[in-house]
Symmetry: C2
Subunit: 494 residues, 2 copies
């Protein structure tokens, strides 16, 4: 089949909800509620022959009774009824179905036979299916939250398809916690019809999608995936988190999605060739999503490091070398430039160790000097937010007036410190825009701090330097792939 | 020199503060303030010839004027004055000095010469030194917070020595965020006198210390370290985070602490032989500290996995195999035991995938069956807290009464879900105590959730399964080291 245009699937104007329920805690009740809660911009048409009205809407006995065209139908009815529903949707001319209903190929041969029947009916009508066994879809453009859990993603430019609904919706939820906004999401379920290659091809072309996340277990379509993955990767970063990389994981995947894991080594090397960014942990997936969707790519692997404490500079340097990044020595002329405004015993090298210099100005000045340095492709700035320097002096301390006075002064100091983000984070953002080089901040502190840093200053930050380095290494790899493929190849082909 | 007894250093009754200052934001003012703020149980004696009183205390012109004995002196005076201070402290018979003052061997040959002089004077008096260039010490027993930053660690059973003050105090602060309590801490600074081997030897014998954390850069003492590290490791877990593992990191370390990194391969293999647990990232350091200080050791590498979503089971399985852990197949009799209370299409294997079963009872029952299973050494339970299932329905939704009614019901559901931790987390704790097997929970959600889970239920939890697996792999390795060295070796020696 040709690549389907999924615009209508992700941005439907009119949705049928087939099998909507008035009973709380059934998916036929929860998902419609999530759609309402999400302030969906289009119209919904509940379908259930046993109900007159539901959730404040007229309820239709069948999809045929819905007046006018329908873009997609969400199906919640029990598995044995699905063939008939698909038939009716086909007759109505609905182009896309999202089958939430489970108990198909994932549960054994009987379910697989039923799934086959469903697909056959869909093909007959030219109808395309998401699922079965899908946890739903999300779209920022139409504010469509057709999802099982009540996740409310942030709007943004990251799109995702996931063979595991749980993994996918968890990443939407983490994104909301960390300030990573999503544009489109689909839980692809059993992929009876539309599969990972279809979603990847579509999202690769989608103008609103800047970064693609993929969670995949099955490799049934790996031969089809390569050209699609390469075409998408040439346009935008594709972050792939592969479940079933090992024998143990593959066995678990077989019982989960029925997916055959195949040889991971072959698959992984094909994906590498295709320019796909392969991610090993769920945390790294989110870390990378944040950086790739917010930062320019580095043009090489040379890193400038700024730190307020020597030990952290050492740790960051170790992580860089272990990740294939280089930390070039600071040239004499830059040492001379930095000398005047740091204490005499500063590191005089890269990492630039500010040796506990507390004030803001030298910090920003050092970042600027590092970023402008032509032998550097990216900067990692430790201590940009300085959450560790919060002074917990608000607790009651008893003592004579001079103790309390000293504490008062410390509180004023804290106030000055919390004003720092404005100066430094604002400066970082401007530097990125001016130089086109990525700068990543590292600031200990809770998730909420990093979300706010991103929201208020568009600065990407992580709680440990190793996470920043790992992200940077992935960006360097991807930039190298892009660079190799953007160069004119005519000389070679001659 | 013989191993010094550091009891008096960590739990002093009477402290001299030499170079105390009335000027805010000098270390001679900040550190005394932190001691007061920490409600230190002993007595402080500020020393400064220019002041009559400071911070509500009488100020002495020199240590000699302090009436009665002094256990330790903290020194903040400028570097050139330190030899004279040490001389005076020696004459007064003070056994331990903590030299906060910097500008010694870490800044060049001149500083190194000064440091040598200081050590020589100390040796003459039989006086032992922490530092110079130390960020201070902390002790839970005497509530001593003699630290540069205003960190207030939780009390607990983890002790740490760190060649980087910044790295060390950051870990104290993270510990407070994550619920990991500390017993003793020392920023060892330049280690002019007392060094990592001394601290390790002492903490290895310290009855109040259950887990030792070490951040080290220099390897000057690696030959001395092996027997000490082995003796300590036989008693309790020693978690070592080594800075300067790479050429790049080693160069940074040389400019930071002046430490010579040496051959990391030789050092690392010696530490492995000694039973030391070698940690690669700062995040893993805290993750391991939490598990080792709160859980029994697994007796082997066989892991039972419980999950509410298949994809997460796959991811956990992959991480297990990649970390050398085994996920044995579930025997038929356990499948039969679980069958009655899970949906018919559950995974029927290990990972036990509860396929979105929401209620509490089966979850706890499954954990119990897995933990009691004799072919399993540890259990990883995903979704024990279910932070993802929070229902954000409190926002305003407009609509007819039936919509609002449905939302009301959803809110009640959410209330029931948040009651879940009591049942499940309480049950997990009991199971650990009864079986002696470690159970690690995985629950998405912010740091605060994991801190509360630990504080309120003594259950160790992490936000991603990969972090739980990585911790478990370290525990398995350490348990194997302990097991090998606890077995009678007489047969081999005969």
């Amino acid at each position: 089949m040709n690549e389907p245009n999924l615009d209508q699937l992700f941005n439907p104007q009119r949705i049928a909800l087939v099998g909507v329920s008035a009973t709380p805690f059934k998916w036929g009740s929860i998902i419609p509620l999530n759609i309402l809660k999400g302030h969906y911009k289009g119209s919904i048409f509940p379908v259930n022959p046993g109900l007159e009205r539901v959730l404040g809407h007229k309820c239709y006995p069948s999809v045929q009774e819905i007046p006018g065209p329908v873009d997609i139908a969400l199906v919640f009815t029990p598995a044995p009824t699905v063939p008939q529903i698909v038939e009716q949707c086909g007759e109505k001319g609905i182009p896309f179905l999202v089958i939430i209903t489970a108990d198909f190929s994932e549960t054994g041969p009987e379910g697989a036979a039923l799934e086959k029947r469903v697909i056959k009916i869909a093909r007959k009508h030219g109808l395309r299916l998401v699922g079965p066994n899908s946890m739903g879809i999300y779209s920022a453009q139409t504010e469509l939250h057709a999802l099982m859990p009540p996740t409310m993603p942030l709007k943004g430019q990251v799109s995702m398809f996931s063979q595991s609904g749980n993994v996918g919706v968890q990443m939407l939820a983490w994104g909301a916690d960390e300030g990573i906004g999503f544009e489109k999401f689909v839980s692809s379920g059993n992929e009876g019809d539309l599969d990972s290659a279809d979603y990847l091809a579509y999202l690769g072309e989608d103008e609103n999608t800047r970064v693609i996340l993929a969670y995949m277990e099955g490799l049934g379509s790996d031969l089809d995936l390569y050209p699609v993955a390469r075409a998408a990767s040439l346009k935008k970063p594709v972050l792939l988190f592969k479940g079933g990389r090992t024998r143990t994981g593959g066995k678990a995947a077989a019982s989960h999605s029925g997916a055959i894991a195949g040889s991971n080594r072959i698959f992984s090397s094909a994906m590498h060739q295709a320019g796909v960014i392969q991610i090993q942990t769920s945390q790294a997936m989110m870390d990378c999503a944040k950086a790739f969707s917010n930062l320019p790519l580095p043009q090489g692997n040379r890193i400038g490091i700024l730190t307020r404490g020597g030990g952290w500079g050492v740790i960051t340097s170790d992580a860089c070398e272990e990740s294939g990044l280089s930390v070039p020595p600071l040239p004499e002329e830059l040492i001379k430039k930095i000398d005047p405004f740091l204490p005499s015993y500063w590191s005089r090298g890269n990492p630039v160790d500010m040796v506990a210099t507390i004030s803001h100005d030298p910090f920003l000045e050092c970042i600027e000097i590092l970023t402008n340095w032509e032998d550097i492709d990216a900067v990692i700035a430790l201590g940009a937010v300085r959450a560790t320097m919060k002074f917990p002096f608000s607790d009651k301390v008893t003592g004579p007036p001079e103790v309390l006075g000293a504490i008062e002064t410390a509180l004023e100091f804290r106030k000055a410190m919390t004003a720092q983000p404005d100066a430094i984070l604002g400066g970082i953002k401007k530097l990125i825009d001016r130089t086109g080089k990525p700068i990543v901040a590292v600031s200990t502190g809770p998730d909420s701090l990093h979300r706010e840093t991103l929201r208020d200053y568009q600065v990407v930050s992580y709680p440990t330097p190793e996470r920043a380095v790992s992200v940077m290494a992935h960006m360097v790899d991807y930039a190298a792939f892009k660079g190799q493929n953007e160069r004119p190849t005519s000389n070679i082909e001659h």
